[in-house]
Each structure stands twice: as C-alpha cells, then as structure tokens.
Symmetry: C2
Subunit: 370 residues, 2 copies
C-alpha cells in the first residue's frame, strides 16, 4: 500500500476541497494549491478541511501537509497532481506548472471534458517543458460534492467507476497503478480520445439550457431541469447532437457510447430513446435548472466540450449541424465567440494530423517528441 | 363607391370567415371558396356567416353570394381574390387557380409571409397562365380574429394600417384603388421585397418557440409567451436574428424596419432594445404560448418566413448564422427538411437574378414576360 504517494490538489472549489480532505483522511500527504490566497486562507489557518458525507462515507478533519498559492512549492513534493478546476482553466494551469514539473510526475485532469489532456500536453510542449510527465484525464469528476464553508466540504456520492486515460494510452496502466490505493474506482478509459468523446455533458448541458432559456431566466431555474426540461422535442435535439457525437467518434475509428447506453451504464436507466431513459433515471428527480444562463453548462461546456467535438467533425468530414446551431446561439446569448475561445484543433495541437496520426498520438505518443 | 366589386375569399379558417362575413356585411358580393366541402357545409346551408366583434365593430349575418369547393366557379365572378390560407398553401392555391384566372383580376395574399407574391407569380408562370392578373401581398393579416363555430366568426381587432405591395410595384396603386372602399386601411408597402422582408413573425415566432421548447411541452403552453418567454437572453437572440434580417434587406438596397421600430410603429411600444420594447407592449400581456411545438410558429414561419430570408442572405453574401441555427433545430424537432420544404430562391423564381435584376423585377416587372 503506497500510502506515501504525495498528492497535490490544484483548485479549492467544490471538487478540490472534497478531494484534498478525502485523500488526507485516507492517510496520504496532501498539498492544496489555489491561485488566489484569499480562497484558501481559512484552510491554511486551520491546517485542513472538515469533510462530511453520506452515511458510511468519509468524514472528519483532513490535515493537509501544505496549503499554498505558490505553484513551485505546491509541486515540489508532488507525485500525483490532481487538477480539479473548471476545464476553462486547464491551459492556464498548464502554463503555470510547466516550469516546475519533474520527470515521473502524473497530472490527472478531473475531468478533462473534451480534449483536456491534449490541450494540457500541447501547452506544456509550447512552453518547452522537457520533464517526462504523464498527462491523463478522467471522464467525469469522481465526486458529487459541494463546498459548505471556507474550510468545509461535503461529498454526496462517490461514483462506482470512472474511466481515465493517459496520453499516450500506453501510460494509462502506470496512472491506474499510482492511483489504485486512493481511488480503486478508476478504470481504463482506452484513450484520451475515448474519454473526450464520451463526454455526455457536451450533449446534455448546453442544449438543455438553451431550449429552456426563457423558463430559466423567467423563473430563476425553479423547475426540474431534466424532468421538466427534457420534453419530447428537446429530447429529439439531444438525440441529434448525440448522434453527431457518436458519428464524429466513428470518423476517428472510435465506438463511443450513445447517450442511451451511457444512462444504462451509469444509472441503470433504460428506455427506447433518450426521452424515456432520462425520465427513467430517478436521480434526475429534484435536480433544479441552473438559476441563470451565465452558468458552466454554457460557459464551460460550449467551448470545452461542444466546440472540440464539432471541430473534430468539421475536420474529418462529419456534419455537425445540430452542435453548430447550439454553439452559435450560445455565442449570441453571451455575446462572445465560443469558437475562438474554445478548444479548436490548433489548441489541442492536432491541427495537422491525419486520422491515423491522431490515433497513433493518443495510443502510442508522438514518434519525435517536440 | 364601387360596392359592386366582387370578392372571392379563398380559405374558410379564422381569417377567411371573418373577412368573407365582414365584406358581405359591407355590402359586397362575396364568394367563399374552401377546398374541403365539409368545412363549409354549414355556411353553405345557412347561406352565410354570423360575425361578432369588438364594441363598435362589424357584426351581423353576412349573406354570401356563393359558397363552393369548385375553384372554377369560385373565380368566375371574382374581381378581387383574397387568399386567406396559411402561406404553406399558397403554391397549391396558385396551381389550382392558374387555369381559371382572367385578365384584370387581382390576387391578394393575406398575408404573404416572405416571398408569397413571388412564389405565387412563379407558380402561375410555370403553369403557363397567360392571364394578365395582378398578384399582391399584404404584410400581415388585417384582422385579429377567431372562428367560433362552423358558420361563426369573431373579430377582436382590425389593424389601423397594413402595407401591401403588388408584383411589380407599379401595380400597387391599382390594387389599393380596387380595395379602397372595403379596406381603406391598406397602405403602399413599396414593393413585395419590402413587405416580405418586414415580416416580423419570421424573427419572433420560431426562435421564441424553440427557446421555450421545454416549457411549452411540459406545461402545454400555460405561460405568457411574450412576457415570460422573452427574457434578456432570448431577446438577445431575437436581436441577432433581427439584425440579420435588416442586413439581408440592406444587401438588396432595402431599409427594413428593425423590430424595435416595428413595435413602436405598430403598437407605440418603446424601448432601448427588443427586450424593453416587447415588455412595454401591453397587448402582449395575456397572450399564451402555443400549446405544442407542432404549431404554425414553426411549421409555417420556418419554411415560409425564415428560410426565404436566410436564402436571400446566403445568395447575396450576408451571414445568417442565427437564422440558420433556428432553422436547423426546427428541422431536428420536426424531423423534416425545412430547407427543402421552404421558399428557397428557386421556388420564388429569382434564383438566377442579380440584385439589380431582383429589384427591377419587384419594382417594374420582367422585361420579357415568361
């Protein structure tokens, strides 16, 4: 049992605080980094985080080895670096850590959304980072959790199985091995293209938000997001987006899970189509809509999830009309260019690659590293 | 006073019944045509339509000269042919009337939506109709009205001023003159390109329906369509669509009214933007949302209003991303191709025309008629 593995958790939000406390309670030495010192001042003063959770789940005061806003200090002891920030921050984190990384360190994005590991590795390469680090991404965050105070966190649920993949995939076993004591729930996600293209939030979040835009803004989100928001017509649009995602994956030679398959796998929710399967998922009952359209369901999931999938489609000849229509409306609503801000193929460092070259890069790595 | 003008009203729906009864009560000889005899059987048996309306408005039993489902008989006496059917039916009507039209007859589409007169004239030409008829379109229906029984109609409001235009515009005065006794409210709409591009339903109806799709379907439309449905984000999308429409018009050399200008003109509703102006229009209070997405706000306004405006934009170099995103989602929701079903430029008979040629056609007519 390698209880000596030193973890550094980057990000002290809902997920980061829960993970840092959870790891500390399991007995690992943990450093918590947050860019803004004020956000972790109370944690630093108390020396840790108070964790609560569900019945039988982890709880107690998790003592942290170090709480810092100095990225160099944060990485000094780190063997595994858990990045738990919105994916819109991944590129910035990569820029910050690049000068401090050391051979053998593992960076895991929790989660990567779509193209997280590719973007992270591309930024490291652009920063001329020479350290032999392993960048990996998880398909989703392992927790449903919430921050309940400056030094408090609560875990509602820990998922049973979460796929992760390293870039290249030949290094996935190494990551799974390093994490196995703390998080045996991680499973092999095949490749970062698989984890990226199985990003279901890309399909559900932006479309569901836009097709309920009037209701969200006029009620402040006071309705059940999935139960009331997913009506037959809305579900038809989700189905169309989902079909586009699976087709983009197929164009890369990847068999992605359909939304219906994913709902069965993740929640044992069944149905002949997305409408039925979503309404057969009891966990969706009671989940409120976002209170405003200025929410990560658009601000994060459009540029970091939908844009990279649509960009892959455009590059490899798959019509992504539905995705494009959602992206455009999000651009109008937020008066910004989510295509420009988003993870297009140049930002993922795969602009010039053929399908075969992308797959080889994801599976085996670049032949000539540079 | 030419109270002898013989009107034929085509279509016995909400608008057609009100118009036929209103004209009859004004003393004009009126023929009412409906394709399906069952729909007008009661009117035929009673010999007319019972009209009710607002205080001081027209009311009483309007005796009809003829009620028929024989299009030849319907047109025999007609001097003015008022087409009062959904615009999705205009092409079919044109096919039916083509063999029966005579020199000097006037056909007015109430309303044309976008490209109604162009499409109608194109179908007549394709049917090799040699009669010298004048085809015109109104910008909106002059009534807010409802059918209240098989031979009953109610008018809630008659608009103050409704622009109309003939194709070519040189014939607009002739149409205004023929209609002046019955409907002095009609005013010169400049050209059919103007009436077509000032179609505000194209902007408001489909987007408002889609961006409230979840709420419409989960409540059956039990909310205020404009008051609850037009929130700041929804209004931003309406603004973007409106800007596209005005830009498409500008590419043809036409200064179209903006939505804000239209709300001020039509309702004296003011505001710095569409959100404010819509919420300052008391007439929108109490108007419920459509009960389902299977509604003319999509089934008619997408193919007959949005598609032709977007098609003009694509042809003359204007980006219509917002319109395109709405059209695509409508296609997905109704699992049909609204581009194929809609009024594209080939259906309007203007596919091969330059901007100058389109304007000349609308203003002066074709040099070589065929």
């Amino acid at each position: 049992m390698n209880k000596e593995t030193h973890y550094t958790v980057i990000g002290a939000g809902h997920g980061g605080k829960a993970m840092a406390a959870h790891l500390a309670l399991m007995g690992f030495p943990v450093t918590l980094y947050n860019r803004t010192p004020e956000h972790v001042a109370v944690i630093k003063a108390r020396g840790g985080i108070e964790l609560k959770s569900y019945n039988g789940g982890p709880y107690g005061f998790g003592d942290l080895a170090l709480v810092t806003s100095d990225i160099g200090a944060a990485l000094e002891q780190a063997e595994v670096i858990m990045v738990v920030v919105p994916s819109t921050g991944h590129a910035d984190i990569a820029h910050s850590v690049a000068p401090h990384l050391r051979d053998g360190q593992i960076v895991l994005l929790n989660p990567g959304r779509t193209g997280g590991a590719l973007e992270f590795a591309h930024v490291l390469s652009e920063c001329d980072c020479q350290a032999d680090v392993t960048v990996a991404e998880a398909e989703t965050l392992i927790y449903a959790s919430r921050s309940e105070g400056p030094a408090q966190a609560r875990i509602f649920r820990i998922k049973d199985a979460v796929p992760l993949a390293a870039l290249p995939a030949t290094r996935t076993p190494r990551v799974l091995e390093a994490l196995s004591t703390a998080f045996p729930l991680f499973i092999d996600g095949t490749s970062v293209l698989h984890t990226s293209l199985n990003n279901m939030g890309a399909i559900f979040h932006p479309a569901l938000t836009l097709l309920n835009a009037g209701r969200i803004e006029s009620t402040g989100g006071e309705f059940q997001f999935y139960i009331d928001g997913v009506t037959p017509s809305v579900a038809r649009i989700l189905e169309a987006l989902d079909r586009e995602r699976v087709t983009v994956a197929a164009s890369l030679g990847i068999r992605a899970r359909t939304g219906v398959e994913w709902l069965r796998m993740a929640y044992d929710a069944r149905g002949a189509n997305l409408y039925e399967a979503i309404h057969n998922q009891p966990g969706y009952r009671g989940i409120k809509a976002p209170p405003t359209l200025n929410h990560r369901y658009i601000t994060e999931d459009v540029p970091m999830s939908l844009v990279p999938i649509a960009a892959l489609g455009q590059r490899y000849g798959v019509q992504v009309w539905g995705m494009d229509s959602i992206i455009r409306q999000a651009c109008i609503v937020h008066q910004t260019d989510y295509w420009r801000r988003g993870r297009t193929l140049d930002k993922l460092g795969i602009m010039q690659l053929s399908v075969g070259e992308i797959m080889r890069y994801a599976m085996e790595g670049r032949n000539n590293k540079q």
